[in-house]
């Protein structure tokens, strides 16, 4: 009994905070999603799954979902090879290595909002440094700016996100590289393997577990993407960069469609959970199995 009291003493503050501010709101979100509710008066207009049907048939939300998928895939496709390349580069004997590793991590430390505001200035259509540099080397720049045209805006957001989060990938990969057994590498070198062959056949394959965890983190992050989009484009132009998160915040705070917003948030959660579980089952399982062996 004494143990029980002590456990309670230690755990209850955290548990109370967690239940009140994390679990309760999520339960409420599930509840709100079943009502038509605009934020005032009692929660009385029960509509069942109608909000879900509305959201799932909404062109804007469907677009948002596909944009999230684009960001999930795009982030992996861009950041994985780039992150590996930079990590392998910074893993070599090189002067100022520590400083370089710190520098690579700087964008990740910045608030997304702050990064977004700086990029907004950089990307200004006429007076921005990006256009000026690009046209300086003869690359044609779009008149309406990189964020101003529906065709390009999402790509631009993806590039900025890549800039922001590459440092995390590099850092994790560098951490993984520390675990590559040096004697294997040396043995290969003695057998006459080139640097490139060593990376290709030894280092990178041994990085597998780290890469798989990074992919997981990146996926979940991409599905929840909000701040950057909200500041860079607000979801525009013409909803071409809306994400599930900006959709639901927009519905909730600007249009006060709380039921719709809640349904969208539950869908976002289910999608994230699905990705997490599927990835866990299909990919990460190998790692945990290996650990148990």
């Amino acid at each position: 009994m004494r143990t029980a009291a002590e456990v309670l003493f230690f755990v209850s503050p955290a548990l109370a905070l967690f239940l009140l501010f994390v679990v309760w709101p999520i339960v409420k979100a599930a509840q709100f999603s079943l009502y038509r509710w605009r934020g005032f008066g009692p929660l009385s207009d029960f509509v069942g799954l109608q909000n879900y049907s509305t959201v799932l048939h909404d062109e804007v939300f469907r677009g948002a979902f596909s944009h999230n998928l684009f960001i999930v895939v795009g982030s992996i496709v861009l950041q994985l090879p780039l992150g590996l390349a930079v990590a392998l580069l910074l893993n070599r004997r090189i002067r100022g290595q520590g400083l370089l590793r710190t520098i690579v991590f700087v964008p990740y430390v910045l608030a997304e909002v702050i990064a977004a505001v700086v990029w907004l200035q950089l990307l200004q259509p006429e007076y921005g440094a990006v256009d000026s540099l690009l046209s300086g080397v003869g690359v044609p720049v779009p008149d309406q700016g990189w964020l101003g045209s529906p065709d390009r805006a999402l790509w631009t957001v993806l590039i900025v996100l890549t800039w922001k989060y590459l440092g995390l990938a590099v850092l994790l990969f560098l951490a993984g590289l520390q675990g590559v057994p040096q004697d294997v590498v040396e043995a290969a070198e003695i057998d006459g393997a080139s640097w490139w062959q060593v990376q290709r056949w030894i280092t990178v394959p041994l990085l597998g577990p780290t890469v798989r965890i990074w992919v997981f983190l990146s996926m979940i992050g991409s599905l929840q993407c909000f701040d950057m989009v909200w500041v860079l484009t607000g979801g525009g132009p013409a909803n071409s960069t809306t994400t599930m998160a900006t959709f639901l915040v927009n519905e909730g705070t600007k249009r006060h469609n709380y039921g719709i917003a809640a349904a969208a948030s539950v869908i976002l959660f289910v999608v994230a959970l699905f990705f997490a579980l599927a990835y866990q089952l299909l990919v990460l399982r190998r790692d945990t199995k290996g650990a148990a062996r």
Partner: protein, 296 residues
């Protein structure tokens, strides 16, 4: 994305135990390697340096040559921001909110991690999974009910606590996940000795565990501080007017004075300084903490 990305969760990756490892290897610094490193640095720091330098320029300079250097260097923009009471008000709000968040996360997180690490009781793993699953809940999902809860039910809208409490709650899962293995690693002999000397387990917590866990506590503390300092969505919904934090201030400033690029850049630069300095000061510790979490 800001809050969730550093959640480096276990499943621990399996890896053959390294017998000998060095961080430095490879064929040494050929010019090509340095060239590559230079390109990486330029691309990484370019936008940040542009922001810092842009603050020293005038709008006319920026329009004339968008990618140029300040000529002459002007202190005006920075002076204007640093003498503006709004900036300091926002900075104060950010500091207090992040401070409260960190305090709550560290104290409650360490307390919760202790029995989860060192007590045997039925339901321990179930309790731990409650926090573990919390890693999967993005704040975005809960944002609308959270807004209603804080502002309507608790009457904490537009207050420091109104932001700090939920932020701490969302920071707890990661804290517990990072701290638990650390507390497990404290040797049993230490605990037995303390109990033999007549300390209770609560006494052991305060006298031995708290001081011993300082390094891990600093790691989670800094992560919580920076996450709170950088947070946007929750403050956006909950804070208005004088209560805004710096990220809100930056976003506002950039929409309100969109033509004053130099001013926006000065404001933004000054807003990024504290988190950057704070993080870089303890960077080594954070990095090894993250690496530990990834290595399992």
């Amino acid at each position: 994305m800001t809050d969730t990305l550093p959640d480096v969760t276990p499943p621990a990756p399996a890896r053959p135990a390294p017998r000998r490892t060095t961080s430095v290897r490879g064929g040494g610094g050929s010019p090509l390697v340095y060239l590559g490193a230079l390109v990486v640095v330029a691309l990484t720091l370019g936008p940040v340096v542009y922001g810092v330098l842009g603050g020293f320029r005038s709008n006319a300079q920026l329009a004339d040559s968008p990618a140029g250097l300040p000529d002459p260097w002007l202190l005006d923009n920075y002076r204007r921001v640093l003498t503006s009471p709004t900036f300091w008000r926002y900075a104060l709000n950010s500091t207090v909110v992040a401070g409260l968040t960190t305090l709550l996360v560290v104290v409650f997180g360490l307390m919760a991690a202790y029995p989860l690490a060192r007590y045997r009781f039925p339901g321990r793993e179930a309790l731990y999974s409650v926090f573990l699953v919390g890693l999967l809940f993005p704040a975005t999902v809960a944002i609308i009910p959270l807004f209603i809860l804080v502002s309507r039910d608790l009457q904490l809208g537009n207050t420091w606590w109104g932001v700090a409490l939920p932020q701490a709650a969302f920071g707890l899962p990661m804290t517990v996940v990072i701290l638990r293995p650390f507390l497990v690693a404290i040797p049993d002999e230490l605990e037995e000795a303390a109990l033999m000397d007549g300390a209770s387990r609560i006494g052991f917590f305060f006298r031995v565990v708290v001081p011993l866990s300082a390094p891990a506590t600093i790691t989670v503390g800094v992560l919580a501080f920076v996450a709170s300092w950088n947070a946007y969505l929750l403050p956006l919904l909950l804070l208005q007017g004088d209560m805004k934090t710096l990220p809100l201030g930056v976003a506002d400033y950039s929409t309100q004075y969109s033509s004053d690029t130099a001013g926006v850049l000065a404001f933004t630069t000054l807003a990024m300084v504290p988190a950057l300095v704070f993080f870089l000061a303890v960077q080594r510790r954070i990095v090894s903490g993250l690496q530990g979490a990834v290595k399992g």
